[in-house]
Symmetry: C2
Subunit: 383 residues, 2 copies
């Protein structure tokens, strides 16, 4: 298969590219917009990465498999998209190319507008391009479990059978997301459901949980093939921040009560899910929606796991609750399903203390380069 990965420079885009290159012809595209946001906000990943172009060169030298092809491009530039899709005629497209940070989207007007414009219009351009030049390509679109919010009913996979006044319908799952970023993903999903239907496109929308881990069999082939580890308050996920604070011997910071529950998965399970979704494509004309996560933890439970694992290597840290900078329910029902991936064969990894210990050590190896103040949140949701 010929597969284009939009957002191929990213935390997940790059490991996905290497994995898929073992069996397919892979084209990575990026506009490096996340790098620009890093500079704007003075945040950097823990370990410097070499440029995507250099990583591609290294991969192409050491890998005996298919070469990866790099192309600079922006989904906001529809002329680029149209030309590129026309030239490549991909069989599948993995679409990671969105502004991925909820806190960033909540900084102010400019960031909110950038996020919704970039994500919504970029995705529209891609769909129009696919309709015109490769209408049979299977699009894997990355969404987030955060689209659903934390409703007081079970979270199904994208659609909900609703009984109301003795009548039934199956409708898009009603969403209550918690940031401008999450809203942008909801808008994408609604546009996709509709355009799939009227244009007979083949799209799988993946509502992914919080991904952790940086090592995959492919990143281990060469130290310059690493992916990014963000520990900052903008791109750093909660587990990365806990691990970094543990490595620094600082209290683990919980936003609010810590009873907030979220979904999680290991980066190797993300790759497994992408491969499974590619092997089990959506039908034409109906957007297939899969919830992509393996475990559910409350923030406090996650903090306890990190504290307990740290203790095993003689790091004794406290858990500290701070005023929640976000606007979210801190005590809520949470029962999503992920059965559509179990059905097609997902074998989930579990978060465990060995992984946490290994991650703390990974951070400790580069402790000097940490800019500690970027860990602490300074973006407030409710102004």
């Amino acid at each position: 298969m010929k597969i284009i990965i939009f957002g191929g420079d990213g935390y997940l885009g790059w490991p996905t590219a290497m994995r898929l290159a073992k069996k397919h012809r892979v084209f990575v595209v990026d506009n490096f917009c996340k790098k620009k946001i890093e500079i704007e906000n003075q945040v950097t990943p823990l370990f410097q990465q070499v440029s995507l172009q250099e990583r591609v060169d290294i991969w192409n030298k050491i890998s005996k498999k298919n070469k990866i092809h790099f192309e600079y491009g922006d989904l906001l530039n529809h002329r680029f998209i149209y030309d590129f899709l026309k030239k490549i005629k991909p069989n599948a497209i993995v679409h990671y190319a969105e502004q991925p940070s909820a806190p960033y989207s909540m900084i102010g007007r400019e960031q909110a507008v950038f996020t919704q414009h970039n994500n919504i219009i970029g995705t529209l351009n891609l769909l129009f391009g696919v309709k015109k030049h490769c209408p049979n390509a299977h699009i894997l679109k990355l969404g987030t479990m955060g689209e659903y919010g934390t409703p007081n009913i079970d979270i199904e996979e994208g659609y909900l059978k609703i009984k109301h006044k003795n009548r039934y319908d199956i409708l898009p799952y009603p969403k209550s997301p918690h940031s401008i970023y999450h809203l942008s993903k909801c808008h994408d999903s609604a546009n996709i459901i509709y355009l799939c239907k009227i244009w007979d496109l083949k799209v799988t929308d993946l509502n992914q949980g919080v991904v952790y881990g940086v090592k995959t069999p492919e990143t281990e082939l060469h130290k310059k093939l690493n992916t990014s580890f963000h520990y900052d308050h903008i791109f750093g996920t909660i587990l990365n921040r806990f691990i970094t604070l543990a490595a620094l011997n600082k209290p683990l910071l919980i936003y609010g009560k810590g009873e907030q529950k979220r979904t999680f998965l290991n980066i190797n399970d993300t790759l497994q899910c992408i491969e499974l979704a590619l092997k089990n494509p959506a039908k034409k004309g109906y957007c297939k929606i899969r919830n992509q996560y393996t475990e559910i933890f409350s923030l406090i439970n996650l903090a306890n796991q990190v504290r307990d694992a740290a203790k095993k290597i003689n790091i004794n840290i406290k858990i500290k609750k701070i005023k929640n900078p976000r606007f979210e329910l801190e005590n809520h029902y949470y029962n999503p399903t992920n059965k559509s991936f179990s059905k097609i064969g997902l074998k989930p990894l579990k978060l465990n203390s060995n992984f946490i210990i290994e991650s703390i050590k990974y951070v400790q190896n580069n402790l000097k380069s940490i800019n500690e103040k970027t860990i602490y949140p300074n973006i407030k949701w409710k102004i």
Copy 2:
């Protein structure tokens, strides 16, 4: 009250401005983007209107009431919005300033992207401006009944109490709209519900049906105070197209089976609703959603009403079904409610044969200026 009307040049914006000017200080703002779309697509309203500036001058001369103030401005220009809101500090804002045509949004990529960009980002800019400069202002945002689509369950007002696996929640009503334009309004609504909640804004989201009629007590004060009557396939609503075809003695064109049901209201009821919504403002922090229509007709029922009324003035016309250029259910359950406006005192007008006859005569008075070919649809939903 000081009230700003964004989209004050429009079919509804202008009559709303005159009505509200009788009791309030009114500021009309427009960027004339609809006029540009008219030129692009070679469609014109039946009767030429003088410029908004000239209408404002005429109103200010003949009205003994408050003067209307005009300002050129674009919601995509946040600097303008911020400065203007800071200067005026309005008590209320009526937001009509969106690309209003579903067929236009379905022409192609450029129009689809323009529609979502203009509507979503314009509304975001407005909300950010209000938060910054007049957080107590009551925003009346015009949405559409088309946001809901035609689900197989009753349509409530913006939210739905859902029972699922023996648990309950009240969630945003799950929507299945039928065009890129309608999707843009859904995205607006979702953004508004969220930003209302986190910023304690005061917003009423009005899901309006198809509006008919051009005469209000205020438009009748001077012939140059008229509002626009569009009969074309882009901006012309179904009733306007039927009335125009009747005046031309041509068959009434039904898209598809004609069993599609839609909501309707008289322009004078739109004005009544706007006044009622202003008098009954939303509470801070919770977006109040009202369905704004008075009657439900199927297309075939509407065609029959026009045919029967025309017969009374000796116009004998047929009803002709054509292949539906749109992608929509042609036979569906449809049971929306509008009780929130009944509760606050809406006294609805009814569509009747006198109104239809009067409208046909209105069109006949300017028959020569009609460009007949613009009535017939040439935009196809499903390509």
